[in-house]
Symmetry: C2
Subunit: 251 residues, 2 copies
């Protein structure tokens, strides 16, 4: 009997699959097999849930898929869900109000969008090119991520101070600071960058910096980043918020 149930389930899965192919746009072989025999959508699911790690670039077959995701409104919509939850959380949180309540933001793909750069460079299909990327950073031309700017303004209105904690290196401090200002992030408690000699990965560097902040008496109300390495590692803060980023991976 259980076998029969199972057969039924499987038959309908197959039937639905057929419908799926019929009504969606034509699915090409490369959509279904970008890397390990999975669709680009499922690869993206794996990335965003921290199951797929240490990848060097977006699978070649997924350039169109990721491009559509980033430019077609879906990226903005996913970001909006995160910010909606963050605002609900911040509004309900009982602050001490002594100026030590802080919220941490990463910079790239969290407050500033490098989409103009990545759109011209295959949406993450091309391996990371530090020279070209640093040239882009030094232009201070990255726009704000609109949903994150909304969260930032809400936090300031709640008298939560903002700390930027980024894997960008110290020599880009001025370019980063100029860019944050021009994008609408006008004030902050601290802007923490990675020293030129720091060799640890992002997760170790960032959790170490958070530890120092807690030792300085700050209370981390929330933490927002596009990479899991922005968010994992003690102390995490009261709550973390993971923004979407299917274009690159930082350990």
């Amino acid at each position: 009997m259980f076998h029969l149930l199972h057969v039924l389930l499987v038959s309908y899965l197959v039937a639905c699959n057929a419908l799926d192919r019929h009504f969606l746009r034509p699915i090409s072989d490369s959509d279904l097999h970008p890397a390990d025999g999975v669709s680009c959508e499922s690869w993206q699911f794996g990335v965003e849930t921290n199951n797929v790690r240490d990848w060097k670039h977006v699978p070649n077959a997924c350039e169109d898929y990721i491009g559509h995701y980033m430019l077609g409104g879906h990226y903005r919509s996913d970001s909006a869900v995160v910010v909606t939850e963050a605002i609900k959380f911040a509004e309900a949180f009982e602050l001490v109000g002594d100026g030590k309540d802080v919220w941490i933001f990463d910079v790239d793909e969290t407050t500033l969008s490098n989409l103009p750069y990545y759109a011209a460079n295959g949406f993450g299909v091309e391996p990371y090119n530090s020279t070209a990327f640093n040239e882009w950073v030094n232009q201070s031309a990255a726009p704000a991520l609109p949903e994150s700017l909304k969260l930032y303004k809400k936090l300031l209105s709640l008298e939560i101070k903002v700390i930027f904690l980024t894997g960008r290196r110290e020599p880009t401090r001025e370019a980063t600071s100029t860019n944050l200002q021009s994008a609408g992030f006008h004030t902050w408690e601290k802007l923490l960058l990675k020293g030129v000699d720091v060799k640890t990965n992002s997760l170790v560097f960032k959790s170490g910096e958070r530890k120092k902040l807690v030792e300085q008496g700050y209370r981390i109300v929330g933490n927002t980043g596009d990479q899991w390495s922005d968010l994992l590692g003690s102390p995490e803060g009261n709550r973390t918020f993971k923004l979407p980023d299917p274009m690159y991976y930082v350990a």
Copy 2:
């Protein structure tokens, strides 16, 4: 039993029909605004990334969307990505080989699929009904999640022992054990259920049980679950794997 089969058959047909409606009709306002002004896809992103928490049921407007996701091959494909990564990780992991290397699996929506139940109950739109769900559990009729069964077999072949750690309560031990066996999970080191008097939430209960395992000398190579509460909280094990589940939330 034939009644159940009939219900299942009708549910799957409805789900498949819903799918074709989903893609043929113009997108209505309720598709775009199921809850907080976001699409069902973005709500799902928020859920799977642990940004959207403590929700009581799937937004009403997302029943068709989630039904399509669960039955249309996408759920299976997302699960396959997770299992592919888990197998890669397990194969590369340096085991001690003294019989204390273990892998933890949750049960519901991790090893056993309650999709036949949820397909007949609105794919998570209807609030949790413990009486109806327990009746289903006591039938021991849940099929295996095929990707998880694949991982399970691989782990046994690598001589990693399996421990099931579930929020199901002790009185369902026999039904759960029978179901695991009939679904193809034939052997295990331990099957840990929640005692009837345990009041802590799943995250506290499960991390507490993992702590006991470590104190007993086990080394947790990996941990697989469909809820973040299966995976968060120290000790986490060497690596965690998050399976998809947009149908319900367990804190």
